[in-house]
Symmetry: C2
Subunit: 430 residues, 2 copies
Amino acid sequence: MITTDVKSARSFVSDDEYAEAFELAEKTYQQVKNQTGAGSEWLGWQRILKEPNDAELEELTSHAERIREDADIFIVCGIGGSYTGAMAVIKALNPYFKNNGPEILYAGHHMSGKYLKQLMEYLQTPKEDGELKSVYLNGISKSGSTLETALAFRTIRAWMHEVYEDAADRIIATTGKEGGVMNKIVAEEGYQKYIIPDDVGGRFSVLTPVGLLPIAVAGIDIQTLYYGAVSEYEGREQDQETILEYAALRYALLKNGHALDVLTSFEPELIGFTAWIQQLLGESEGKEGKGMFPAMAGYSTDLHSIGQIIQEGRRNLIETILVAKKPISDFKVQETQGEDIDQLGYLSGRSFHQINKSALDGTVEAHTEGGVPVLKIIIEELNAQQLGKLIYFYELFTAVYVYMLDVNPFNQPGVEGYKKAMYKLLGKDV
Amino acid sequence: MITTDVKSARSFVSDDEYAEAFELAEKTYQQVKNQTGAGSEWLGWQRILKEPNDAELEELTSHAERIREDADIFIVCGIGGSYTGAMAVIKALNPYFKNNGPEILYAGHHMSGKYLKQLMEYLQTPKEDGELKSVYLNGISKSGSTLETALAFRTIRAWMHEVYEDAADRIIATTGKEGGVMNKIVAEEGYQKYIIPDDVGGRFSVLTPVGLLPIAVAGIDIQTLYYGAVSEYEGREQDQETILEYAALRYALLKNGHALDVLTSFEPELIGFTAWIQQLLGESEGKEGKGMFPAMAGYSTDLHSIGQIIQEGRRNLIETILVAKKPISDFKVQETQGEDIDQLGYLSGRSFHQINKSALDGTVEAHTEGGVPVLKIIIEELNAQQLGKLIYFYELFTAVYVYMLDVNPFNQPGVEGYKKAMYKLLGKDV
C-alpha cells in the first residue's frame, strides 16, 4: 500500500491539535464508509473498485490495441477531470522523447484559436511518405456542452468527416449514460460510445473510460493500473491509519494558519500527477470560504525559482512531495576523463537516482528547519500498479479530509461562475 | 508602453490604504532611480538597456544563424534564471507543433536520470536518412558549479567530444567574465564564450546572452525583442504612473491579507512567461518572512480545476492575468452543417479570439464578484517587441515593489538552504 513520511509535518502540530484532528478524521471516515456524508450519491469511485467491470476493461484494451495498430495520432478532447487523469498517467509512464505507439495530443482543454489552428494544420500535413495521417479522436464530456471541448470537437470531427470515409469508426465519445448533446451526436453519427457512470464525478473519473481509453491507447496496461487501485481499496478497507494520520495533519495545519500547499516531486514525469491532485483537492475543498490552496511545482527545477520564497518567505505554506522509492533509472554520472576540471569527480559513477534522493532529503531537512511542514507520499516504484494505488489513496484521502472541513467534497458550484458571465457576454440564452 | 487594467483590484483597497502605498512606491522608485537601495550593484538590467551593446546583438544573431543552418537540435543547459527567460520567449512565439529550425531541448534543469538517459538515447538515434543528428549545446551558468546543470553539461559534452570532430565548435558557454569552473572548462576546451555581466542577476538576465542566444537560435528576432525593452525603459524614465499604481495595489493587497497571487493567462503560449514572472517576483520578495506566494495557472484550462477554489475558497488570493489585446489568430468556429446538433450554432463563424476574450471578461467579472482582486497586464499583441517591453516592465515593477517590503530584491540567500544540506549528504567538502 501507499506509505507516507510525515515526521516533518507532525513537528508543526501540537499533540492536542493532532489528537482532536485525528478523532475528527475517524468520524469523517465513517461518513465515507457508511455513505452518510453530503454528496454520498457520488461515491461511485469506490463502487467501481468493489465491483470491477472486467468486460469493459477487456473491451477498452482490445479497442485501444486496434487503435494503436492503425493510428498515427490519437486526440484526447476534454478539459478538467475529462483529461487530467489520463494526462497524469501517460506522462508518468511514457518516454520523454519517443512515442511508443500513436502520438497522444490534447485538444478542447482551452480556447486558444492559435493552438487549434496549428493543430489542424499539423493533422493536415501529410506524412513523410506523402500519405494522410491516421487520426483518431476521443471526445470526453459528460454532457457534451462544455464549451472548450465542444468547440474543438466540432472543429476536428468536421475535418475528419471530410477526409476519412471511415470517420465514424475513428471518433469515440465518452459521455453520460443518456441525455446531453454528446448523446445526440452519438445517435446521429453512430460513433462508438463509452459511458461515464452517473455516480462518478469528473475529477474522480480517471479509472472509468474517461481515463482508461486514452491510457490504454498510450500503451499502458490498464488492467494493472486498475487492479492496483483495487488492491489499495481492499487494503484500506482493513487499515485506514495512514489516511487518517495524513488527513488529521493536513487539517491541523490548515487550522493553525497554513494557507497553501506546494504539491511537487523530484521526478519530472510526476508533474502531471501533481496537476491531477491539484484539481482533486482544490475543487473538493475550495468552497464556502474554506480550503488550502494547492499550488504546483517541479523540483529541483523550481527550487531555483520559488525555492527562495519557500525557504524564507511568509511561513504560511506546507509542502507535499510525491516520492518514488525504487530507482526509476540506473543512469550514472560519467567518469572523470583526465583532470577533474568540472570538480564533479566526487560524484563519478554515482547514480542520478541517488543524487536526486540527496536533493530530496536535503530539501526536506532545509525546508523543515526553515519552518515549512513537509509531507512525503511514497510509491514503491513508478509503474502502473503503484499509480493505480496512488489514485485510490488520494481519492479516499480527499473524501475523508474534505468532510473534516464540513463541506461536500463532490460538488463544484463555483465553476459555474465564469461560465454564466461568459455565456451572457456571448449572447447565449441561459 | 505596457498598460494595465486594475479596476477590480482597486475596489479591494481603501482610499487611505492606496494613498499610503502609492506614496511609498514613489519613494522606492527613487531608490531604484538613484541607485540608493539595497543591492543596487545589481541594476545591470537597466544599464544594458541604457547602453545597448549592438555589436554583441549582431554577433549573437549571426552565430545563431550559423547554428540554425547546421543544427538539428540545440540544447539549452541551465536552471532557474539561466533558462526560464529563454523558454518563456520561445514558447510564446514559436509554433506549437512544427519547429521553425532546430529543435530546442532543455537539460540541466533538474536531476532526473530517466530524463537525461532518454535524452542521450534520443540524441544518439540517427535521423531517418541514417545520418548522425547535428547537435549543439549551450551551457549556461554564471559559476559553472550549479549541480543540476554541471552534471548534464558533463554528460552531454563528453558524448559530443566522442562523436563530433568539431565538438568544440558545437559547444557554447554562457558564463561570468572570469573565475568559476565554467571558465576553466572554456580555457581547456576552447569553447566559444558569452559573458553574463557581473551586475545582472540570474532572474534578470534574459536580455543578456543567457536568454538571447537560445532565443535567436529559435528564429526569433532578438534585435526587435531587445529594442522593445529599450523603448519601454525610455518610456518609463518619463512616465512611471502605471508601475507605481500596480506596485501600490499589490503592496496594499499584501498588507490587507492576501497571501498568494495566481499568475495566469488565457493564451496557453504565455504559460512560460508566467513561470518567468513567478521566479522574478518570488525570488525577489520571498525573504525575511515576507512576500506574496506566486502560483501559476493556465486558463481557461485551470478554471476547470482550481477555478472552484478561486471562486469560492478562502478569500486570501489575488489574480494577475497576462492579456494580449490584438487577436493572436483569426481562427473561426466551423459553420453549422445541417441541423445544429451540438447547439453551437450561435457561435458559428465567430473568432476564437473573441470567444476567449468573453471567457476572460466573464472570469474577471465572476472572480471580482466572488471576492478576488484581479489585475490585467496588457500587451498590444503577442510579438517580440511587446515581449521585450513586458520583460522590462516586470523587472522595473519588481524592483519598485520589493523595495516597498523593505527587503533587497536582488539576492537569494534561501536558495542555498537545500544545496548545503544536499552537499553534506553527498559527502562534498563545503
